[in-house]
Symmetry: C2
Subunit: 177 residues, 2 copies
């Protein structure tokens, strides 16, 4: 199953800088079969779970997140970069290799006790995903789990999320990153 | 039908600057019924049309664009801001009130003769949408039409697109903007 996904992902060597193998999911998503398989396989990991809302991380997480929310008859919550949401927000800062970044959600996006599935294209070091988890929990949401297309396990993000007690599913992995 | 959509859109007065009524679709999309209705109603405008790919405009156009692509068993193409796509791109510059902006797609995202539905949350002056149309046509794509949640008809974008000969559908309109 993973090969059907992995074979449709393009690797761009030395992007955005030397030594980084960039995994480009656009070739997966622009293929009708690849897009459909990605959605079906992410959904398959959460069969039987009640999901009230899907939280997608800007910007690539919006593409699959919206589709998965519709399939689950759930709502969609945007986890956005700082300053992009027009109404009152809460935010969480997280460390990058150099400096910090910040993600935000609207304060009224998630209600107490709502069950939230977090979706993004890729899990690497996990900085953004863990910040998104904090935002969801601060809003009173209950994390059902985290679904990604790609895991880069050597960068440790999926392991960090599991150590926090959450279920992580990914459709394929690239090792040795 | 339009009221079911319109009543779920939040208006934020004087955002991002005095005199602008910002139409916030996040309240529509975070509501499971609102999200589902939005997708179903956009789809209803294109019944019977063959669509090979849905092009969504960054970033809000990704949320509904991905869902609509899955529903149509089409692929998804990202129309992104300059510098965001990792592989070879073509771009089109367009005028803003002050200065210019640029949107890009991957050169291999659309093949000659593919039928493309363009999706975004809102059509205002039409600068971004018209630039996206140019990108799709430069790539050899055939525009099936353009689907938006919100039209601000007084800003003239939907009229400009229709004058170019393309079909525009929107789920609701806010006049007097």
């Amino acid at each position: 199953m993973a090969a059907e996904i992995k074979d449709r992902i393009r690797t761009i060597p030395d992007h955005p800088k030397p030594g980084i193998q960039f995994r480009d999911i656009m070739t997966l998503l622009q293929d009708p079969i690849g897009l459909n398989l990605s959605v079906q396989q992410i959904l398959a990991s959460w069969t039987g779970e009640r999901v009230d809302k899907v939280a997608g991380i800007e910007a690539r997480g919006f593409i699959l997140g919206g589709a998965i929310a519709v399939a689950l008859e759930a709502g969609f919550v945007a986890v956005r970069k700082a300053g992009k949401l027009p109404h009152t927000t809460i935010g969480v800062d997280y460390d990058l290799e150099y400096g910090t970044d910040r993600v935000e959600i609207h304060t009224d996006a998630i209600h107490e006790g709502e069950r939230i599935l977090l979706v993004d294209d890729l899990i690497a070091t996990g900085g953004t995903a863990l910040a998104a988890i904090d935002l969801i929990e601060q809003s009173g949401g209950v994390i059902v789990g985290c679904g990604f297309v790609i895991d880069l396990p050597d960068l440790g993000g999926s392991e960090k999320i599991r150590k926090r007690g959450f279920t992580v599913s990914s459709l394929c992995a690239f090792e040795g990153e």
